[in-house]
């Protein structure tokens, strides 16, 4: 996969200030939701971002689509930094980066018909479709996502969760974007419905040549849909690589622990599977540990981990080796096999 990078994220930082006082607000600290994240998204690929709650993956998604302004860093779409844009220019870029939300029950306005919901992008960007053409386009979109085009006059509450998520996807497709940022798009759905929506997303990717940023906490779903994967912990990417590099050859202890904790639907695996049980909970992003952020829960932690921030880089011992070299932010990165292969 060597296609051009259409989205380059560099040193993205998003801090939420913590304030005290009612009238005269004084900043007493900051929640460091995202603290220096860099990645590329290439044309036609799916980048999966995984991590546990509070790791900042949803904040990354929200900054990508312009719902939050980054505190620092750049988000370059075809070379143009959209984090610095505003007004008309921002609106034009937004057409090309759309979002699919997690909760199909709250992401659709209950007072609007399905036709109005899917057609709203055309109201906001009237240059995309002439007025007379909109109804036909909306019906086409419904058909594309596998819903009856005659349902345009129905309200969201008349649909099941999976169908609503299809409506949300249709809205995301309306402006023919290049990139879709999907924030936990299937985690609110039942297993069998999940499969339908995942399949739909994959089919649409081929059909419309889309690039996905797919954010999820479910490592199995991410493996299924992603070409490349970034693992986040407390506002930073700890390891990134292709799907096979991350799942087959993880080198960061957090990735290894995360993967080993995922239950595998195979009762035979439970005896001979190695599990890494992490101690304790994720520290608060308002006061992250110094140095390596994972060190408080890591079994490999040494004094150096508290002092030096490990860079996200290909470990030196990979150099020259034929193996799957990929960046890992650990002073003691080493490969460990944790996912049972078939």
């Amino acid at each position: 996969m060597t296609a051009e990078a259409i989205l380059e994220v560099r040193d993205l930082v998003k801090h939420y200030p913590l304030t005290q006082g009612i009238v005269l607000k004084k900043q007493v600290g900051a929640v460091k939701a995202v603290d220096g994240v860099s990645f590329d998204l290439r044309k036609g690929e799916t980048l999966g971002i995984v991590g546990e709650s509070g790791c900042g993956k949803s904040t990354v998604a929200r900054t990508l689509v312009g719902l939050e302004r980054p505190t620092a860093g750049a988000i370059r779409y075809h070379g143009e930094d959209i984090a610095r844009l505003s007004g008309r220019a921002l609106k034009a870029v937004r057409r090309n980066i759309q979002m699919v939300f997690q909760d199909p029950y709250t992401s659709l306005n209950p007072r609007m018909t399905v036709g109005d919901i899917i057609g709203e992008p055309y109201d906001i960007h009237p240059e995309v479709a002439p007025k007379g053409d909109r109804r036909r386009r909306v019906q086409e979109l419904l058909d594309v996502v596998g819903l009856n085009p005659e349902y345009v006059n129905r309200y969201p509450h008349q649909f099941s969760g999976g169908q609503r998520q299809r409506i949300g996807i249709a809205r995301g497709l309306a402006l023919r974007p290049e990139i879709i940022v999907a924030d936990e798009p299937v985690s609110a759905l039942d297993v069998s419905v999940q499969a339908q929506v995942v399949n739909l997303l994959e089919r649409l990717q081929d059909e419309f040549d889309l690039s996905y940023v797919f954010i999820a906490h479910d490592l199995s779903v991410v493996r299924h849909i992603s070409d490349r994967v970034a693992v986040m912990y407390l506002g930073r990417i700890v390891e990134t690589g292709t799907e096979d590099e991350i799942y087959g050859h993880p080198t960061h202890p957090y990735t290894q622990a995360l993967l080993s904790a995922v239950p595998v639907p195979d009762p035979d695996a439970r005896e001979h599977r190695e599990r890494i049980l992490l101690a304790g909970d994720v520290p608060s992003p308002a006061d992250p540990p110094s140095g390596c952020r994972f060190r408080t829960r890591c079994w490999k932690a040494q004094p150096v981990c508290a002092e030096v921030v490990p860079p996200l880089a290909v470990p030196e011992w990979f150099a020259g080796a034929a193996g799957p070299a990929h960046p890992s932010a650990c002073h003691f990165a080493e490969e460990r096999h944790v996912v049972p292969s078939e």
């Binding site: 979002m99 939300f101 909760d103 659709l108 007072r111 906001i124 006059n153 039942d190 399949n199």
Partner: protein, 323 residues
């Protein structure tokens, strides 16, 4: 769903999901309500449609709505049911009880109590509706903007609202209205709006803050929607229900506030015909001629009760969770 729409690729195995009704709700009561009971519905239904369906079956709503309809009609055309003149006095009949053609008797100036009670509806209904409309518009505009934009505007508005909350209603009314010389209903309406808007503003603010956090608002923002569009198309329709409920209930209390102020001599002033004024006059003669008090007071109670009952019914219909 009445018909199962099968997309092209559903025939083979793959992405073929058309499903029955929302199953996430199936383990809750909602599931039953949504028509799982074997009667799939295909008519699109909105919140207002649902509310209207609930209301039509609610006897409390039907009774109170009929009373209010009747009151509004006689407020506009009192001569429909009372052909007398509310100002014609016949001192010879002062304080007399009911007589043929004068079922409610006469007041202390010999005016027909029935006619005055009927004509009194106009003042009460006018004050109630105008004050509510004013307070609701002002309150929801200010509160809604405060909730939407937040920041210093929100802080300022909340403090101002607190100041108005702190004003004792009756004392404020006596002071404010005693300096006004107009004999129309408008000073009273103005005063009630002035004291009533903070209550509505609070509700509207909270309601907008809640609605603002919904994903669909975020979705519209991500599409590049303007603030006006977000407010009018996404937030307002989802935030208006609590405001309507509170306003309907407030309407009843505003009517009784008008009567109270008029009773104290600070509200409406003669020659306006008002239940409050008549109650005030009649209270002096309560031992000799209780009927003078009974009829206007009864009319007032029924009116206030009708509006409060209507508010309750509307709240039940719009917000089933509160039930």
């Amino acid at each position: 769903m009445p018909e199962q729409y099968v997309p092209k690729e559903a025939v083979t195995h793959g992405d073929g999901g058309t499903t029955a009704l929302a199953m996430a709700e199936a383990e809750t009561l909602e599931g039953g309500r949504n028509g799982r009971g074997g009667s799939p519905r295909d008519k699109p239904r909105s919140l207002w449609g649902d509310a209207w369906r609930d209301l039509r079956r609610n006897p409390v709503f039907l009774v109170s709505a009929l009373i209010i309809l009747f009151l509004v009609v006689i407020a506009i055309w009192p001569e429909l049911i009372a052909d007398g003149n509310p100002y014609r006095a016949d001192l010879a009949k002062a304080q007399e009880g009911s007589a043929p053609g004068h079922p409610f008797g006469f007041d202390t100036q010999g005016r027909d109590v029935y006619t005055r009670t009927v004509y009194g509806a106009r003042a009460s209904i006018t004050v109630g509706i105008c004050a509510t409309a004013g307070a609701a518009l002002l309150g929801s505009a200010l509160g809604g903007l405060a909730g939407f934009f937040g920041g210093w505007w929100d802080a300022l508005l909340s403090r101002v609202a607190d100041i108005f909350f702190g004003i004792p209603v009756l004392l404020g009314g006596l002071v404010f209205l005693s300096v006004v010389t107009s004999k129309t209903v408008w000073p009273v309406v103005g005063f009630i709006v002035l004291l009533g808007w903070p209550q509505i503003a609070r509700i509207a603010r909270g309601s907008v803050v809640t609605a603002k956090q919904n994903d669909y608002v975020q979705a519209a923002r991500a599409l590049g929607a303007s603030s006006g569009r977000l407010l009018l198309r996404h937030i307002a329709p989802n935030a208006v229900a609590p405001v309507i409920v509170v306003a309907t209930i407030a309407l009843g209390t505003y009517i009784s506030l008008e009567a109270t102020l008029s009773y104290l001599g600070a509200g409406l002033k003669p020659p306006t015909v008002s239940w409050g004024i008549d109650i005030s006059t009649a209270s002096t003669y309560i031992r000799n001629a209780p009927h003078m008090l009974l009829y206007p007071a009864g009319a007032l109670s029924i009116t206030v009760l009708a509006f409060i009952m209507l508010g309750d019914a509307v709240r039940d219909a719009l917000d089933p969770k509160l039930r």
